[in-house]
Assembly symmetry: C2
Homo-oligomer: 245 residues x 2
């Protein structure tokens, strides 16, 4: 399993993923699920992937080698807009589907892949897309500034309650880490270390890219601090008035 | 969909369920998913059900009419222990499976049902079981004092973090309501009003049974108070040290 979350905020982009892959719970590994394509000041694109590792790696390699697309061969370094980048990622997934889908299907293996694509290309807005296994996609909007893939439910309530388009990048990083921590605690197949990327609006540059391990003092502070804060919060609530004590 | 949670704590039992049923998102209704069988001071049993409403209602009716079991006919009022009550619930589900399973299967409808059974029969311990569609079951223990059925992921992180066997009944009710509220916010097919039941250890009696509506002042306090407390908690955390401001 996997948990990846992307936030497309007024001030910029936050992308966070775990690194655990598993083929059964008795076969777990660490693979980065974060891929970037950057030409500083011109474009900054970041992909997070969930699903079958063979599919996501094949799609990423195809993207690097170039995809036949609109009569020419494109990579994430040549597409002129984020919308075209999302189409390109969808096309890469469809190429894998054409190549591997029939055999996977014959062996009763689902074509399981989804990708978060966030970034900005000079002259255009910052955007965040969720590309599905069919190669189609949706986009985050100010009304719904985050998108998730993989094991999304454990970490969704905090984002539903707390995140808004005008949340600062610093608070966005905090909330993404809290959301991830809830998932790490409840699903063993989502695991540390984490990959974090932050890009500020209008810079087309990576402001921060960091591998966060179990020993990271800030991650520990978030984990322990959040548990303590929740405990204080529910303990401070008055008891239900319907119960005689 | 449905969300039901049961807590089997040192001091007693807390059972909480939503009441929404749906056949597609364009056809939602309110049905209680809580059933009780009580003989005050002698036995107090409470069932919460999730899954196909026709299956759960059929199972409940069969339990009331009596199930052929160990050479005689039993109901929840005649079984001698909670373990036998869980076996009886499992047998009721298997009766429905024998009656309806083949036709459901022929029409490609899954046999989707699960039941939380909590309670106490005089002379025995308080117990909480989760009965599966196959009629087999697991039991809550002090290490894992809560069980959930239905849409369980949204509401699990708070219970994972905060609930322990020695949590008081009052705090258990609070935490169950917070867990339910996280689910209500994130899944439209889980809906108000709620059904709550509390039974104190050793009493074999219902201490509290309450229908909780959207207008309930305490539910509102929990919902608003929890959102505010979470906001304060993450806002009070220091910003990530890796980010230049």
């Amino acid at each position: 399993m996997t948990y990846c979350v992307g936030l497309c905020l007024e001030d910029g982009l936050v992308m966070l993923s775990d690194t655990r892959t598993n083929a059964g719970v008795d076969n777990i590994s660490t693979f980065s699920k974060m891929f970037t394509a950057t030409a500083p000041d011109e474009r900054m694109l970041c992909l997070l992937s969930a699903g079958n590792l063979a599919i996501t790696q094949s799609a990423w390699n195809r993207l690097q080698e170039g995809i036949a697309f609109d009569g020419t061969t494109h990579t994430l370094f040549t597409v002129p807009s984020m919308f075209q980048a999302a189409r390109l990622v969808g096309e890469a997934i469809r190429e894998v589907y054409r190549a591997d889908g029939p055999t996977l299907s014959a062996q009763n293996i689902g074509f399981d892949v989804s990708v978060l694509l966030g970034g900005q290309i000079a002259g255009g807005p910052m955007r965040l897309y969720l590309v599905y296994a069919a190669g189609n996609f949706i986009e985050a909007t100010p009304d719904n500034p985050f998108l998730q893939i993989g094991e999304l439910k454990y970490g969704k309530p905090i984002l539903d309650r707390a995140l808004a388009f005008d949340t600062s990048l610093e608070d966005g990083v905090k909330l993404a880490l809290i959301s991830m921590d809830s998932t790490l605690r409840s699903n063993l197949t989502v695991g540390l270390p984490l990959d974090l990327l932050v890009s500020r609006q209008g810079t087309q540059t990576i402001a921060l890219q960091r591998r966060i391990s179990d020993e990271d003092p800030y991650l520990r502070l978030v984990r322990d601090g959040w548990s303590a804060a929740l405990r204080e919060a529910w303990q401070a609530m008055p008891p239900p008035p319907w119960m005689e004590s």
